[in-house]
């Protein structure tokens, strides 16, 4: 069924998260209230996109806290980690400070969930992102993707395996 509420957002990917081999849709999102980040600017190194439902909910906290601890391992691959949810930049700011996060959280806030929709990682009925992971290679192609049940912390082993499997 068509979702009229999403008519201002295109293209929308339906039927699961974008698979490996797809071009990672480019985007520009707020990373702080007055700064934006563009995915294309990170071309040349791997990027981990971690979509998650919401700041502050206990499971997300666990997942983001875990990634925060594992950050040095991701950086060994030269990879950049970006968290993405529909929370606003001010909310992200407070959350990141509270949890001492050392990686950026992007606000997929306006139009709400527009980037998540392009990646097939939006739960329209709930109004928030899936718990979906993407590893984007240095050419901007999706090398690996995974969508976890929303209540389950997907951990980091899949991400590390995908980074290891990237061509050198």
């Amino acid at each position: 069924m068509a979702q009229s509420s999403a008519s201002n957002v295109a293209p929308i990917h339906t039927g699961g998260v974008l698979p490996a081999g797809s071009v990672a849709p480019n985007f520009t999102l707020h990373v702080t209230p007055d700064q934006t980040l563009t995915l294309g600017d990170l071309r040349g190194r791997p990027v981990i996109l971690a979509f998650y439902p919401a700041d502050w909910s206990p499971v997300c906290g666990d997942q983001m806290a875990l990634y925060n601890e594992i950050l040095p391992e991701f950086r060994k691959f030269g990879a950049e980690l970006l968290g993405v949810s529909v929370d606003g930049a001010w909310c992200h700011d407070a959350f990141a400070q509270n949890r001492h996060l050392h990686f950026p959280l992007l606000a997929d806030f306006e139009p709400k969930g527009a980037v998540a929709r392009q990646y097939g990682a939006y739960r329209a009925a709930d109004g928030f992102c899936e718990r979906a992971l993407f590893v984007v290679d240095k050419e901007g192609m999706i090398a690996w993707s995974y969508c976890s049940p929303v209540a389950v912390n997907p951990g980091a082993d899949g991400i590390l395996q995908a980074l290891e499997d990237l061509p050198k």
Binding site: A65, L66, E69, E73, H100, L101, G155, A156, D157, L160
Partner: protein, 179 residues
């Protein structure tokens, strides 16, 4: 189902015989209150199974959340290098709310370890690599938080109250025997 990617070896800190029917591995953090609770539960579980159970503890300090977790893990490893891992492990959990250098030195003294060497090991990060190796192995084995238990190589996704752990271990014993 997540499985243990780093097999248990003689390098591990283990209680109970290698020939035990079931090996229970815990990935834990000395500053994590849930691990503090699990510490008591594991003791009961060990009492229940006796020599049929081998228990292994590996480090998974969440340093951003728990500022004393890494040092505590290194203190336990320091004691372990002198054959007193479990004595230190137990005392760290029993004094979880007082973690910090003063406690580490007190416990070192109590266990008749050189506090000079202990302080030096912490300053030089002598056991940092070992703790980090545990952590990395945990991440690859699907450890997403603490405590995480692994029973005969398979991550235990249920809760870690006494009854649930006992029944999961019983189940693993059944599988081990029929295999």
């Amino acid at each position: 189902m997540a499985t243990l990617k780093v097999p248990v070896t003689a390098e591990d800190h283990a209680q109970g015989p290698e020939s035990a029917d079931v090996t229970l591995v815990e990935y834990g953090d000395y500053e994590c209150p849930h691990c503090g609770h699990a510490y008591r539960v594991v003791q009961q579980v060990q009492k229940r199974f006796g020599k049929r159970l081998r228990f292994v503890f590996r480090n998974f300090p969440l340093n951003e959340m728990h500022p004393n977790a890494e040092a505590a893990a290194e203190v336990a490893e320091f004691a372990g290098a002198q054959g007193k891992f479990w004595e230190m492990h137990d005392r760290l959990f029993e004094n979880q709310e007082r973690l910090g250098e003063a406690l580490f030195l007190d416990l070192g003294e109590e266990l008749k370890l050189s506090t000079i060497a202990l302080r030096q090991a912490l300053e030089q990060g002598t056991f940092e690599a070992r703790v980090r190796a545990d952590f990395k192995g945990g991440v690859r084995s699907g450890v997403n938080g603490t405590p995480t238990f692994v029973i005969n190589g398979h991550r235990h996704d249920g809760s870690f109250d006494f009854e649930t752990l006992v029944s999961a271990i019983h189940e693993a014993m059944g599988t081990a025997k029929s295999a």
